[in-house]
């Protein structure tokens, strides 16, 4: 396994084509806007080497029997799935943000199932290729970007019906040694902190869309790939000298638009090629794993609840009964999210490939709650934090020789707590509920791993309605 330092060094060797604020980034690793997100991914390496976390952070490879980072593991039991949930909560709580490495893990687990199933039907050799690739990822302890979401253009039209054919990533040329692809993947979490990009189709497809039914993996600096870094609310605070106004002083997440302009993929890295009838299965399995992965929001919730309690302690409102009750409600919602992720893991099952898949119905229920509860937790945090969270002056004002004493005097809460500490905790709440980390805690909770309606469709499809109706009829004596 790589150390955190080795991970950082390995990123320096990549030759990524990254654009930020309209300019090409010369040094991605040290860029002040990007750096906090690298710090968060680095934690997945550092904690794997710490005895007090390794039971969750590491696993035993089913291919080589070697100890590996759990983010490169294929789940071999429901215990593995439960550990994945716990690892994600742990990391969310340690970083207070999106640590970006779960999308690739979920992509690999979904591919381990679907490549096997395609081979069984068509006699192809995708699973063999995939396992070889997986062994490489495990041995090198790599970060993989899980790239599913296409820009999608007109949502009412299928890939092959779009006016611009590049709205969904597709094959543009087939060669003896591989394929050439064009298109883009949007909202790519952790893309510029990744060594590899694993591309999957974004929706179920029909025969006419078969050029879009492709899956493959490429090094992140492959020729023809361009990254356009996503803005986040309050991002330029990271360019300021002081740390206080950032809220989270160390960590952050990121997303990027990843453009593929005639990119060559060798056959040994192609895991699906025009088997359109398996696109839906791959999407569903990836989405189910990723809906489980939102246990990370429970960890960020832990930070937000802790911060809210501190804010209440600092302004003296901590003993008010409604404040106590609101914090109980925040915990209730947060632990309910944990229940969903744990439940779908515990109820997981073995697939023909040997991989354990989460319970699809419960994973969708889990994510449906994730689209709602963090918003309510954030609302309660803002209620308890008070208005100062959004009207407070800057760190420079606090330290100003002319007016700093006013800031200290008038924003003092309890007399034994410094104004500076009160400002720090309020900035952290601001960061998670409407600053850079709100991207991960709120909007990603809404749309990441699929917008709310996608889960409702799955819930409708997965529940055993016939059985429910049968039982109801039996109990009230209906005989038809």
């Amino acid at each position: 396994m790589k150390t955190g330092k080795e991970y950082e060094e390995s990123l320096r060797k990549l030759n990524l084509n990254v654009y930020l604020f309209g300019k090409k980034v010369a040094n991605v690793v040290d860029d002040p806007i990007i750096r906090p997100s690298m710090n968060a991914v680095k934690m997945t390496y550092e904690m794997a080497a710490m005895p007090e976390y390794e039971d969750l952070m590491t696993a035993t490879s089913h291919i080589t029997g070697k100890k590996i980072n759990r983010f490169t593991h294929i789940h071999q039991s429901t215990t593995d799935l439960v550990k994945k949930t716990k690892m994600e909560r742990l990391l969310g709580a340690q970083t207070g943000c999106c640590f970006q490495r779960c999308v690739g893990m979920d992509a690999m687990n979904a591919l381990s199932i679907t490549t096997f199933n395609i081979d069984k039907k068509y006699g192809t050799e995708y699973n063999k290729r995939f396992l070889k690739y997986l062994e490489f990822v495990q041995a090198e302890d790599l970060v993989c970007d899980g790239a599913m979401t296409d820009p999608k253009g007109d949502r009412a039209l299928a890939p092959s019906q779009q006016k611009d054919p590049d709205m969904f990533l597709h094959v543009v040329e087939e060669r003896a040694d591989g394929i050439v692809v064009t298109g883009a993947k949007a909202h790519q979490t952790g893309a510029v902190n990744s060594h590899e990009i694993i591309v999957m189709p974004t929706i179920s497809m029909r025969e006419e869309d078969k050029d879009y039914a492709i899956s493959f993996a490429l090094p992140s600096d492959a020729k023809g790939i361009t990254y356009i870094y996503g803005r986040q609310s309050c991002d330029t605070r990271k360019l300021e000298k002081g740390l206080l106004d950032r809220g989270n002083q160390i960590f952050g997440g990121h997303e990027a638009l990843v453009v593929f302009e005639k990119v060559f993929v060798p056959w040994e890295r192609v895991f699906m090629y025009k088997e359109y009838d398996f696109a839906g299965e791959l999407v569903e399995n990836f989405a189910s794993y990723h809906r489980q992965s939102y246990a990370c929001k429970v960890g960020v919730g832990d930070v937000l609840i802790g911060a809210t309690q501190v804010a209440a302690d600092y302004n003296g409102a901590n003993k008010a009964s409604h404040v106590k009750d609101k914090i109980i409600e925040m915990n209730h919602l947060n632990e309910t999210l944990f229940c969903g992720s744990l439940a779908c893991a515990e109820e997981g099952s073995k697939q023909p490939s040997g991989t354990y898949l989460v319970n699809v119905l419960l994973a969708n229920v889990c994510k449906q709650n994730v689209t709602r509860f963090p918003y309510e937790i954030a609302r309660l945090a803002q209620d308890i934090a008070g208005g100062l969270m959004v009207t407070m002056p800057s760190e420079d004002d606090l330290n100003s020789p002319e007016i700093g004493h006013y800031v200290k005097k008038y924003f003092q809460g309890r007399a034994d707590v410094s104004t500076e500490n009160r400002m720090k905790i309020l900035r952290l709440i601001e960061n998670i509920t409407l600053g850079t980390a709100a991207v991960g805690y709120l909007t990603e909770s809404m749309h990441g791993a699929g917008s709310p309606q996608a889960q409702r469709i799955m819930i409708a499809r997965q529940v055993n309605m016939a059985e429910k109706m049968k039982t109801a009829k039996k109990l009230c004596g209906i005989k038809e």
Partner: protein, 89 residues
């Protein structure tokens, strides 16, 4: 001297400071036990530090050894006493 390995749970949501508990145990057994890496085959005993009552850390690799499990902060004192008693030190 008695050789002891430490096995931690992964610490997803621990109810106490597991690392501090181990420091306490190490201090309590200073001069009476040697703390060695978990994979040290010469150790006779393993202290398994579980962050909560779920006690989910895998103990398979420590099967052959005496295991003392602690899953709350009071467990640190109890472990010190138990080891002293067992070793008559």
């Amino acid at each position: 001297m008695l050789k002891i390995g430490i096995k931690f749970c992964g610490g997803c949501n621990p109810a106490f400071d597991r690392v501090a508990a181990v420091e306490k145990i190490k201090k309590g057994l200073e001069g009476k036990a040697e703390f060695v890496p978990l994979n040290d085959e010469t150790s006779e005993m393993v202290i398994a530090v579980m962050g909560c009552g779920n006690a989910c850390a895998e103990l398979g690799e420590t099967r052959e050894k005496q295991i003392i499990i602690i899953s709350d902060i009071d467990g640190a004192d109890a472990a010190i006493e138990e080891i002293k008693r067992k070793q008559k030190v």
